[in-house]
Chain length 257, copies 2
């Protein structure tokens, strides 16, 4: 794979509009890309921020409508979080992994181990802090729909990654991570290939979609949502597509859950 | 920060030579960059693979010279690894975090929680599998020396990140991670800034150097070492430099160690 790669170009799509529930996100992206004079080519990858996908898919919850369960009230005390927010988090989660003051790490129903099940109170719109935004119902399916629609718009073969920012054990700071992917191998398996000296490589399954998600995150910024769509050009791969769900380590193979 | 970013370009430096112990790595990089017709500018970042830094710094150990301790022999049985390799790993480690069949995760003396303390048997040279390669003694210092020397070579202000590939809990596949950094903020702290709607953002410390390390890893490949140096152009930052050591989460703040 490496031998075909020489230069990677990431372009942030300028002047992206505020996304509203029900918007045709592919149409918004196509319009902004054309307005920016950017021309997607065969094999290009769009990395799209989770937040605008969730907004278009109307994944909002009004906390005013949420009645917290006993369990949510207990966890709210432990974490110092709003019990209604905790209730929404629990509704998105398979189980709680860690709960201490200021921290609520869960296993999202899709398998992602993450803070607050990805439920977000920032930048959800002008309706105030009482409105929160959940992850898309099925980010791989969202990515596949976007891929399909964007290929129609541009008439070229494209891939799509939906990214989010995750904290991590052992290291400080968040990094971009792939929640959904379509049209590329989220994991690239190099096992069985040899190094320069003929030894078989051991630990060489690369999380390609996560590295793309992190790269795009460098251009997206965090403090505002002005750059939620990044076009990545110059990446090449030879393996079959694999969804971002394949990036989730099965619980029974996980030493840290 | 985001507002000043529009396009990021990553260029893999072609025809990089095999690195030998004692080589002047900055001189090798400068020569390969010039030969490739690439022109670094103020604010550009070089991402350099850990392996070539370790080679230049002669961080080899000949396993034939290693006498494993009782503890190494025990851990070798548990993990199925060569007891001499385990001895080298222990010499690089503060403590063992997990040891099961095929897996030895330690806290490296620099704080990195990682497999095998980063000790590598692949691509270490034509001397066969009995020679292994450790991480640089102080990757932040290595990055600072490279930064300094490269700035002399090119007459512009540069930053340097030294990267490696790490596995992760919860997710499959490896991603590029920063072991050392100089000339840029490894962590960018956006806490206290507001989102579009005036709410203060909560969890917005971004691991900039790790995202750069992951982005560069997309171009480096894994199966050979043909592309160990990546030039990143177009990144902007306003915060003061922070070393990659700042990316290590203090053990007493870590819920998963």
């Amino acid at each position: 794979m490496a031998a075909t790669l020489r230069e990677l170009r990431l372009t942030a799509i300028a002047d992206f509009p505020e996304v509203r529930a029900g918007d045709d996100l592919a149409a918004l992206i196509a319009r902004a890309v054309r307005a920016g004079g950017v021309h997607p080519r065969d094999g290009d990858v769009f990395v799209v921020a989770q937040k605008i996908v969730s907004k278009a898919e109307d994944r909002y919850v009004d906390l005013g409508q949420v009645v917290p369960s006993t369990r949510a009230i207990e966890l709210a005390k432990v974490t110092g979080k709003d019990a209604r927010l905790v209730e929404v988090v629990l509704g998105e989660s398979a189980r709680v992994v860690r709960a201490v003051h200021d921290v609520l790490i869960v296993e999202h129903r899709l398998g992602f181990v993450m803070a607050n099940a990805g439920v977000d109170q920032s930048n959800v719109g002008p309706h105030g802090a009482d409105r929160v935004l959940r992850l898309p119902v099925d980010p791989d399916a969202s990515a596949a729909r976007l891929q399909n629609a964007l290929e129609q718009h541009f008439g070229v073969r494209l891939a799509v990654v939906i990214n989010d920012s995750f904290g991590r054990p052992w290291r400080l700071g968040t990094v971009g991570v792939a929640l959904g992917a379509a049209g590329l191998p989220s994991l690239v398996d190099l096992r069985g290939t040899s190094d320069r000296y003929g030894r078989t490589l051991r630990a060489t399954v690369v999380a390609l979609a996560d590295e793309l998600a992190a790269a795009a995150s460098l251009l997206m910024g965090q403090a505002d949502e002005g750059w939620p769509v990044i076009l990545v050009q110059g990446l090449a791969w030879s393996q079959a597509s694999r969804s971002a769900r394949d990036l989730v380590r099965p619980a029974d193979e996980d030493l840290f859950r």
